[in-house]
């Protein structure tokens, strides 16, 4: 299996085939008052402006990392967003906001 990025810690390791879902008890939603996406969790919230919201929107427990990258590249043509997506996923996975899809 290929590693998304060499030298990553084991806990953050994932591949292009990894399917992520939101961490249990996290909720992702559009906030009309703020005109932006947010991630809500026990007693806290993070705003996800711009591309971070677009990536998080695609973390649905069904799409693989590869699919998310392809979808974003199709939606926002002009540049390969793979690096941005991988960087963001590493960041939020490290924070514990998302996790690889749990089976069973």
């Amino acid at each position: 299996m290929e590693s998304a990025k060499p030298g990553m810690s084991d806990t953050a390791a994932f591949t292009d085939d990894t399917v992520f879902e939101l961490q249990r008890h996290f909720r992702f939603q559009w906030e009309p008052a703020q005109q932006g996406f947010v991630l809500l969790y026990p007693e806290g919230m993070v705003k996800l402006p711009g591309s971070s919201g677009e990536i998080m929107k695609r973390i649905d427990g069904k799409s693989s990392v590869r699919t998310i990258v392809e979808d974003l590249n199709n939606t926002f043509p002009g540049a390969d967003l793979r690096g941005d997506v991988i960087g963001f996923l590493e960041h939020v996975h490290g924070k514990g906001w998302i996790r690889p899809k749990q089976t069973g």
Binding site: R24, H25, R27, Q29, E31, A33, Q34, V38, L40, Y41, P42, E43, G44, M45, G96
Partner: protein
């Protein structure tokens, strides 16, 4: 005139709505932050009032909602409020002692869409838990913790620390681990309300605090991410004030059981601000236009040393209520700051706390109950 401060053109929207839906509580905790004169307040808001408040809160952008009190489970319309909160898109948190939570109610909360339950414990030992809350609840809390797990809520335990239980931090954390807690808040008492009345009995020694932090750090290393532990130091031991409420009227909005809208749950005691009631005003006008919410926004209200202090953008001068309680003037710097001319008020209390003899022998500890509240209501604040 020197232009040292300004009121921001327009404050941001509130993020947190704290609904203190009742001051009734089956517990009588000595460290409760509720106002000591709660028995003198008027009628509680009706279900319709609360539904309106929830709607208005969402309209101005609040996302996090806390149901608190008192004990929020005392109100039998909590199920209705929970369901409405979910429909409106809040992330809702029930902050509870667990007394009154049973299979039927937690099922209804789950179905209604309650996101999160924070369960409070007074201590890891039955005797102290029951003494400090002046009731027999420890076994019940263990049962409630199981219910919370069963219904797949994140297990969030909150234990308020003070000199009578802070030496039990190891046991508290072990208990939390046994309950498979995901988050544990070891929150040292903040000295407001009943805790302020009982301050000299509750303030831990420096040594106790140091040990508790060491134990916590060691525990953290062992359990890693599986259990996130927050340790909140009593601000009396700091030399810079907390950024209270992340700034006055900045993100936090409290509605009291009788309908007052406050920038924090302690602000009611501040004189001259005449906070509006949600029976008479909508939340938008309260948040943006009421004199009470604008009183300490920005920094134009600040005095020295805050006014010219480079750190004012970080801590906003600390807590207005603490400044008022300790110095009699809410526009003074929070005396926790060692740059405050009143800092001695804090260090004197800390010095006094170093005496290892339990102060409880000197002066009886005051439980939060209706009788004590009525007695404390007689003297004007």
């Amino acid at each position: 005139m020197e232009k040292a401060g300004s009121v921001p053109n327009k404050p941001g929207n509130p993020l947190w709505l704290l609904a203190e839906i009742t001051y009734k509580c089956p517990l009588h905790c000595v460290f409760c932050y509720n106002p000591v004169d709660y028995t003198s307040y008027g009628q509680e808001l009706t279900t319709e009032d609360w539904l309106r408040v929830l709607r208005q809160g969402r309209e101005i952008g609040a996302t996090q909602l806390g149901f608190s009190g008192g004990e929020p489970l005392v109100r039998d319309d909590l199920e209705i409020l929970v369901a409405e909160a979910r429909k409106l898109g809040y992330y809702s948190n029930l902050i509870t002692s667990g007394v009154g939570l049973n299979e039927k109610r937690i099922s209804a909360f789950k179905e209604g869409g309650l996101d999160h339950i924070q369960l409070s414990f007074q201590d890891s030992t039955k005797e102290l838990n029951d003494f400090l809350s002046s009731t027999r609840t420890f076994d019940l809390k263990q049962k409630v913790a199981k219910l919370i797990k069963k219904h797949e809520y994140p297990m969030v335990l909150n234990c308020v620390l003070h000199r009578h239980n802070i030496d039990h931090v190891q046991q508290i954390l072990e208990m939390a681990e046994a309950m498979e807690a995901e988050y544990v808040e070891l929150a040292n008492t903040q000295y407001y309300g009943w805790a302020y009345v009982n301050r000299d009995q509750l303030l831990p020694t420096r040594e106790q605090l140091k040990r508790a932090e060491e134990v916590t750090n060691k525990f953290r290393e062992r359990v890693g991410n599986k259990m996130r532990i927050y340790f909140v130091v009593p601000d009396y031991y700091e030399n810079r004030p907390k950024a209270c409420m992340n700034g006055w009227g900045s993100v936090f909005l409290t509605i009291t059981a009788d309908g007052l809208a406050l920038p924090c749950h302690e602000a009611r005691q501040l004189p001259g601000l005449n906070f509006p009631n949600v029976r008479d005003h909508d939340l938008r006008s309260i948040w943006y236009d009421s004199p009470g919410f604008n009183a300490y926004r920005g920094d134009a209200w600040m005095k020295e040393p805050c006014r010219t202090c480079p750190e004012k953008v970080k801590d906003f001068g600390g807590c207005r209520c603490q400044a008022y309680m300790l110095t009699g003037d809410a526009t003074n710097a929070d005396p926790v700051c060692d740059l405050s001319p009143h800092h001695r008020l804090v260090t004197d209390a800390v010095d006094k706390a170093q005496n290892p003899a339990p102060a409880v022998q000197v002066k009886p500890i005051l439980f939060r109950d209706d009788r004590n509240s009525r007695a404390l209501s007689k003297t004007p604040a």
